[in-house]
Symmetry: C2
Amino acid sequence: MKAYEVVRQHIEERILAGELSVGSLLPSERDMAADFKVSRAAVREALRMMGAQGLITSRVGAGPNSGTRIAGQNGPALGRLLQLHVALSEFPIDDVVEVRVMLERLSATAASANATSNNLAKLGDILAEMESDHMELEQFNDLDTRFHVAIAELGENQFVTVLTTAVRQALASPIREASDELPDYQRFRRDLNRQHRRVFEAIANGDAARAADLIEEHIRTAYAILPMGGKKD
Amino acid sequence: MKAYEVVRQHIEERILAGELSVGSLLPSERDMAADFKVSRAAVREALRMMGAQGLITSRVGAGPNSGTRIAGQNGPALGRLLQLHVALSEFPIDDVVEVRVMLERLSATAASANATSNNLAKLGDILAEMESDHMELEQFNDLDTRFHVAIAELGENQFVTVLTTAVRQALASPIREASDELPDYQRFRRDLNRQHRRVFEAIANGDAARAADLIEEHIRTAYAILPMGGKKD
C-alpha cells in the first residue's frame, strides 16, 4: 500500500467508526506524518485526494477555524459522484431499474401525501411543456429527468432525492440512445406523457397507492419498450 | 473556477453524456492542456483527483493499453465512497431509515425467491452466532450488519447490495452509540434476534411478502426503540 493510502485509509476508518464527524479538526500535517511514519508529502497527497472527494476542507491562517476539517456533505456533491459511478458501473440494467422503481414508488407515495395546489405547480409546468405537439428527443429526455426529480423533491426525503436524481441522470444517456433506435419516437413520447399525466393526477388527488403503482407501471413499460438489451453495459 | 476544475468538469460531463465510457482513452496530457488552455500541471492535478475518485486509471508505457482511461467501477469502491458520504451526510435519520426500509424490502423479496438450503447456510451461521447467550454490543453490531448484507447478497441485485451495505455501515456507528444508552442491551438484543429469526424463516420458506413485511417491521421497531433523537446529525 502506498504511503498516502495508509493515511487516507486511517482517516476514512475513523470517520466510519464515528470518531471523526463533520467539523472535526485533523491533526497537523507534521503530526500526522509522525503518527503514520510517512513523509509530509504523503500526508499532503492523502489530504488532496480526500479534498477531491469532498470529504475534508482546509482553511489557511491562524484563526480558530483554520486547519483541515471533516467536511459536511451536501446533496449535490454526493449526487454528482454517485451519478458518475452509476453511469460507469457495470451493474446489469435490470438491477438499476429495480432500484429506480423502488425509489420512485417511495417518492410518489410521499409526494401524494405532501401535494398542495401550490407545490404541484412546478410539476404541472414541466408536464405541460412535455406535452407540446412536437419535441425532439434530447429536450424531452431532459424534461423527463426533471419530471421524475420534481416528484422526488415533492416527497421531501433528501436522501431519496439525491439517489433518484443520480440514478435517473446516470440512465439519461442510455435512455436517449435507446430512444433514438425506436421506429416512432413521437408515438413513444405520447404514450409516456399519458402515463406521466396519470401519475400527476394520482399525486394531485393524494392517492398514494395509485401514484406508486402507476409510476412503477410507467417505468417498467418504458424499459420493456426501449431496446436497452436487458443489460446496461 | 480553478484550472484543474475546468478539466475535471469537462471530463465528467463527457462521461454523463455517454461520450466517454469504461475503457475510453483520454487524450494525452499535452493535448488536453492545449484543448482547455490550461497548464499541464492543471491537467495532471485533475487526473490525480479523478484517479482518487476511482473514475480513471493510468498505465504507463508505450503499449496498446497504455495511457489514461475511464475506469470500470467496482462495487466496493462505490460502496466505500457512498458509505463515507452517507456517514457524514446531514440527512435526517428518518430519511435514511425510509431508504433503508425500501432497500431491505427489495432484498428480502429477492432473497426469498432465490433461497436454497445451500445458499442459506451463511445467513443461518451468522444468525446462530448472533443468538449466543451473551455478546457485547460491538460484536453484535458487526454481526447485525453482516446479517443484513447477507440478505442483500442472497437477493443477487448488485446495486441493491452496494446501497444496502453503504447505508447499514454508515448507520453502524450511530446505532452502536444509541444502543449503548439502552438500559438493558441484552434484552434489546434478544428481541432483535427473535425478529431476525422470523425474517430468516420467511426467506427460507420462500414467503417473499411476509419476509418483506417482517424486515420492515424489524427495522422500524429497532429505530423506534433506539434513542437516536429522530435526527442523525
